[in-house]
C-alpha cells in the first residue's frame, strides 16, 4: 500500500515540476535593459504601474548595454532600454531599431577610498580627476565589459588624454555590482552610475570623491525595434511600453522613484 502512495507522491512531484515549463499565455514583452535600472529598484517601482494601466507584463533581462544590444540584434527581446546614446544611434542607423527617444538621465560619479590617495576631490573637471589617478598610478577598477558605463569611462580616458593600462588599471570584465565589490575590496577608484551606487550596500571605505561635471551626464534611451528585421516580436505591446515611458504617467512614475531618500533618475523625454 505504501508503495502506491510513494508512486503517487513521485508522480505528483513530477507533474508539479513539469508545470514550470508549460507555456503561459499572459501578454508580456521581454525588455533588455541595464543592470543599473534593475538593481536600483526602478523597475520594481514603475513596472506595476505600467502593467496596471495596460495589462502587459514586462520581463526584464538585465545585462550590460553591449549584451543588451546583442540580445536585441538576435531578436530575443521585444524592447530595449539602455544608456549609450552613440551606440543607440548606431543601432538605429544599422536598421535594427526604427526609433530612439530620450527617457531619463542620471549621472556617473567617481568613487574611491576615503583617504583619496590621488587627490581627485578638488579636481576641476572629470578629465583632470582621471589624469590625477593615472599620474598617481592609483588602483582603478574598470568594468571592462563593454557596458554603457564602460563605454562612457573609456570616452573619459580618451578626453583626459590617457591611455589607461599597466598594473594600476584593472579591467574586471564584470557588471557594476561585482566591480564595486572588487573596488571596495582593493581600495580602488571606480566610476559608477549613481543609481547603482546608492543602492549598493557593501561600500567599506568607498565614497563619492568627484561628481557634478557635465561630462558625467548619463542618458537613458528607449528603442523601438525594427518590425522588418524581426517580425515575430511583440511590436504592438512594445510600442505601448515605449509610449508609456515617454508619456506624462511614465515620466511621473520615474520622477517619483526614490531610494534612501534620493531621486535617482530624472525624466527628460521631450
Amino acid at each position: 500500500m505504501h508503495k502506491l502512495g510513494l508512486a503517487l507522491a513521485t508522480l505528483s512531484l513530477m507533474g508539479w515540476s513539469m508545470s514550470a515549463v508549460a507555456q503561459d499565455d499572459e501578454r508580456f514583452i521581454t525588455l533588455a535593459s541595464t543592470t543599473s535600472t534593475e538593481q536600483s529598484g526602478l523597475f520594481d517601482a514603475i513596472l506595476p504601474q505600467f502593467t496596471e494601466a495596460t495589462d502587459i507584463e514586462v520581463r526584464v533581462v538585465a545585462v550590460g548595454t553591449g549584451q543588451a544590444f546583442e540580445i536585441a540584434r538576435r531578436g530575443d527581446a521585444d524592447s530595449l532600454l539602455v544608456h549609450d546614446t552613440a551606440g543607440e544611434e548606431r543601432f538605429v542607423a544599422e536598421g535594427y531599431a526604427t526609433e530612439r527617444a530620450n527617457v531619463m538621465y542620471n549621472d556617473f560619479v567617481v568613487i574611491g577610498p576615503g583617504d583619496d590617495p590621488a587627490g581627485i576631490g578638488d579636481a576641476e573637471t572629470v578629465e583632470d580627476a582621471f589624469s590625477r589617478i593615472a599620474e598617481a598610478a592609483a588602483p582603478f577598477a574598470s568594468r571592462g565589459d563593454d557596458s554603457g558605463t564602460n563605454r562612457a569611462e573609456r570616452r573619459l580616458w580618451e578626453a583626459a588624454g590617457v591611455e589607461p593600462g599597466g598594473e594600476w588599471y584593472r579591467e574586471l570584465g564584470s557588471g557594476m555590482g561585482p566591480t564595486l565589490n572588487t573596488a571596495a575590496g582593493m581600495d580602488a577608484y571606480v566610476m559608477a552610475d549613481r543609481a547603482t551606487w546608492v543602492a549598493f550596500d557593501n561600500r567599506q571605505n568607498l565614497e563619492i570623491l568627484f561628481e557634478g561635471d557635465e561630462a558625467l551626464f548619463n542618458q537613458y534611451g528607449s528603442l523601438l525595434l525594427s518590425e522588418e528585421r524581426h517580425p515575430h516580436l511583440e511590436h504592438d505591446l512594445a510600442q505601448q511600453w515605449h509610449e508609456w515611458l515617454l508619456s506624462e504617467d511614465g515620466q511621473q512614475a520615474i520622477a517619483d522613484f526614490e531610494l534612501k531618500g534620493q531621486q535617482l533618475f530624472f525624466p527628460n523625454a521631450k
Binding site: L13, M14, W16, S17, M18, S19, A20, V21, Q23, T30, T35, Q39, F43, D44, R59, V60, V61, A62, V63, R74, G75, D76, G175, M176, G177, P178, L180, N181, A184, A199, F200, D201, N202, R203, H230, H232
Partner: protein
C-alpha cells in the same frame, strides 16, 4: 560588520518569514532542476546501461567524451543553448529563450553526461557479477538494461542526486539562457548573484544557506530512503 554574521540570521528570517518572493524562487529552482534531472535520467540511464552492455567500435570514444563532458563549464553549456534557442538560432521559432524551459534544456545538457557516465560504471560493475547467471537464463541484452538498472537502483539514486546537485547549484548556464527575470526565471543561484552584485552580501549568503539547507534536506531524504531499502534488501 562582516557578511557572515548577518547571513545566518538573514537566512533564518528568510525561512521563517516564508516570504512569497522567496517561495517563488525556491519552488522554481526545484521545478527546473527536478524536471532537468527527470529528463536527463530518462535518457542517460538506458544510455549508460547500453554502453556498459554493448561492445562496438567507437564505444571508448563515446565514454571518453562523456567523461570529459562531466566537466563541461556551465557557461559554455549556457552559451550553446543560448545560441540554439535564440531567435536567430536553429531552434529560435519555439521562442524558448528566457523561459524556464530554456533553463531545463541547459541543465539537462550539464547533467546528462554525469548520469550516463556514472550509470555506465555502476551497471558495468553489477553486470560483472550477474553476467553468467543472466546468460544462463538466456536474458537478451536489451532485456538486461531494465534488469540491471533496477538492481543497481540504490547506487543510481546517488548518481541522480549528484546530477540534481550540479543542476541546482549551477548559475552560469541558467543566468545566460534564463535571463534572471524577476518572477519568471529567477532561481536561487541567480538571485544570489544578483544580491551579491547589489552588495547585499548578508542576503546573498542567506539565500545561499537556504539553498544549501534545501539540497541537504533532499539528500538526507534520499539517503534515508536508500539506506533503509538497502538494509532491507541486502
Amino acid at each position: 560588520m562582516t557578511a557572515s554574521d548577518n547571513a545566518f540570521s538573514t537566512a533564518l528570517a528568510l525561512i521563517l518569514g516564508l516570504d512569497d518572493t522567496l517561495l517563488g524562487i525556491v519552488s522554481l529552482s526545484l521545478q527546473v532542476s527536478l524536471t532537468a534531472v527527470l529528463l536527463a535520467a530518462l535518457v542517460a540511464l538506458p544510455l549508460g546501461a547500453a554502453l556498459a552492455l554493448w561492445r562496438f567500435p567507437g564505444r571508448s570514444a563515446i565514454i571518453v567524451v562523456l567523461n570529459a563532458f562531466m566537466g563541461l563549464p556551465p557557461v559554455v553549456a549556457g552559451l550553446t543553448v543560448y545560441l540554439l534557442l535564440s531567435r536567430a538560432g536553429p531552434l529560435g521559432q519555439f521562442g524558448l529563450l528566457f523561459t524556464p524551459s530554456a533553463m531545463v534544456v541547459a541543465q539537462v545538457l550539464l547533467i546528462l553526461p554525469i548520469i550516463a557516465a556514472l550509470t555506465r560504471q555502476q551497471v558495468e560493475e553489477l553486470h560483472g557479477e550477474y553476467r553468467e547467471q543472466l546468460q544462463s537464463l538466456g536474458v537478451s541484452r536489451l532485456r538486461r538494461i531494465p534488469t540491471l538498472l533496477w538492481d543497481a537502483r540504490f547506487g543510481l539514486l546517488t548518481v541522480i542526486l549528484a546530477g540534481f546537485g550540479r543542476a541546482s547549484a549551477e548559475v552560469g548556464a541558467v543566468m545566460i539562457v534564463g535571463g534572471n527575470i524577476d518572477g519568471v526565471t529567477r532561481v536561487m543561484t541567480t538571485a544570489i548573484v544578483l544580491e551579491t552584485s547589489k552588495g547585499n552580501l548578508p542576503l546573498a549568503l542567506g539565500l545561499g544557506l537556504v539553498l544549501l539547507a534545501l539540497v541537504t534536506l533532499i539528500n538526507a531524504g534520499a539517503y534515508l530512503v536508500g539506506e533503509t531499502a538497502r538494509r532491507r534488501l541486502g
